[in-house]
Subunit: 342 residues, 2 copies
DNA sequence: GTGAAAGCGCTAACAA
DNA sequence: TTGTTAGCGCTTTCAC
């Protein structure tokens, strides 16, 4: 950790040519073969690497994109980040992680911090999307892509997924399995995911081909296993116990499985359980969770691609990408071979 | 996304004072109260925010720290990153995520990229630590903190954890439960975690107070559930089947539970299983996994603190922090109330 | 206490 | 093709 970095001026002196020629020979165009050769050699001898800051100042481009999220650590967000990184890294962009979690920073503050000019754009997953946020994004000095609700009608590029449709798929799946009473285990209704999933359930059970006998709804305090256990107990203790529980995410679904086991109920025999997000957690759970994938990595990739477009033309019209959902059927709804399903 | 950012010069003009005074009034010292007032007002009117790049160039400080890891997405790494972020963010540092995963970039290349000068330091978790890597780190133009093996004797600040001792704790735990035959389910031996955990197991079973009847060892192809199932099957199919399996991480432990269920064995009654890393995955698994915490978040925090020290004095002597391990006893070894333990 | 000016490392417009 | 020079936005000597 002792070596000092060489500057372009030093390379120029070493090569015995001008600063401009040196710059051109290394990055730009219009340098003779001999010049390139000469400068390259000098640069190599000095172990030269272009200074990112000097370059940024001149080019007005940081080659950095921020990824802002409430709680880095949430498996779904991590998966999204992976997708973002996968697309941006090959284009020379670095990903700066910003989190509202550990400091008392709000999403609005994160967006405001963009005025510092340390990134060329921001991909954000807001917990709630209200008018104030939309306003904030409109004021942002760099392109912002939102993952969550569709917002292109408000002039903001966004990536969404039809979680409502995903809930519908889960409901139809358990009904097709012959389940008669469907419980819906949702998270807080005042969140974006909570409200859209509720809508999905309501639509699914009011469809004319919905053939089950009845439904029950329980709202957990948040999207965690603990809250899921709590709420699932209530669901299972209803006079007419559900024989299927559609949960709004995998953590709630795991809570539902636990609550069922507490009561000596077998999953999926007595009660089928579905999750949402298709996390690794759910995939290795016992029983493996039937879950609706919202294409997390793909949402990240899509957002990153939108961002790449915006970095080229910040005033391009707002785009809107919807990533499809997919139901993965596993042991928590279908006893696949009887030996390890419960 | 249309607003343009004001520069310090504009603020100076607006306030009708010099550039120097403006800068001093906003950040520095030695400005009169009236001046501060005046400049603040002008800055507020223009919505001024200092440009991070111009500032960096002048101060030779980016306020960014890189976090480099093979595979962002690994839950353990995510937890570490959370710890890092938690410590660095309040100090005004941003965290830049670098991953060797999706591009063909090696750890060595990531370290080399530090010559670009876009961060003030790097926290890295190398997959393998050989002499070449140590050499590379010695050449790095900014402070580097390694999470993994202890390396302060090589002049590199590092954070480690005694996973060998952790395996020992797990072994003693199952023995204290009265288990007679202990199986060790390890991951690849040519990795840093694999080799130290093997050492831990060997030491534990050769201790003179080790009172079990026998041991078996199986090495999985990698640290995943699938590989764990595979290797655990072999362990369970031995002539003298183990009544306890100590796994080298939570994913392998989950594989062991699965393999046991396949054979109609009950966990923990027929076979007790322990994991390592104490991931959320293990905590919500069914049965909840007894696991040895290696203090992931704390390792991240410790590394971040070391880094903060190094940013103040890059030539300070290399420090070495060891984060303690802790055994969390849960349902996979102790049937806690009979109702939901398996 | 305040202002003028230099310069961090780089690229690009302009001149030769 | 090559060199000279200005300037990106900022902080900090240095004079006053």
């Amino acid at each position: 950790m002792t070596s000092t970095r060489a500057t372009l001026i030093q390379v120029a002196e070493r090569a015995g040519v001008s600063l401009a020629s040196t710059s051109r020979a290394l990055h730009g165009t219009g340098a003779s073969k001999a010049m390139v050769e000469r400068v390259r050699a000098a640069a190599a001898e000095l172990g030269y690497s272009a200074d990112a800051i000097g370059r940024s100042l001149r080019l007005k481009k940081t080659s950095q994109i921020a990824f802002a999220v409430a709680d880095i650590g949430n498996p779904v967000y991590v998966e999204i980040m992976r997708g973002i990184h996968e697309v941006l890294a090959p284009h020379g962009y670095r990903v700066v992680v910003m989190s509202t979690g550990d400091t008392a920073t709000s999403t609005a503050e994160l967006i405001h911090s963009l005025h510092g000019g340390f990134v060329d754009g921001m991909i954000v997953i807001p917990l709630r999307t209200d008018d104030e946020l939309i306003e904030q994004i409109g004021q942002a000095p760099v392109p912002v892509v939102v993952i969550g609700r569709a917002m292109s009608d408000r002039g903001i590029s966004s990536v969404s997924t039809d979680s409502a449709a995903g809930i519908g798929a889960a409901v139809r799946h358990v009904v097709s399995l012959g389940r008669r009473r469907i419980g819906f285990l949702n998270g807080p209704l005042d969140t974006t995911p909570g409200s859209s999933r509720q809508r999905g359930f309501d639509e699914a059970v009011s469809a004319k081909d919905f053939s089950a006998e009845g439904t029950d709804v329980e709202v957990a305090a948040d999207f965690t296993v603990a809250a899921g256990i709590e709420a699932a107990r209530k669901l299972l203790d209803r006079p007419h116990r559900p024989d299927a529980i559609v949960a709004a995410n995998d953590l709630l679904a795991i809570g539902a499985v636990r609550a069922a086991r507490e009561r000596g109920l077998s999953v999926p025999r007595d009660v089928a359980v579905t999750g949402m997000d298709d996390t690794e957690l759910g995939q290795v759970f016992l029983p493996r969770l039937t879950s609706v994938s919202l294409g997390s990595a793909e949402r990240g990739r899509a957002a990153a691609r939108l961002m790449l477009g915006l970095t080229e033309d910040a005033d391009a019209p707002a785009q809107q990408i919807s990533v499809g959902t997919e139901l993965f059927v596993r042991e928590s709804t279908v006893d696949q071979n009887g030996e390890d399903a419960e």
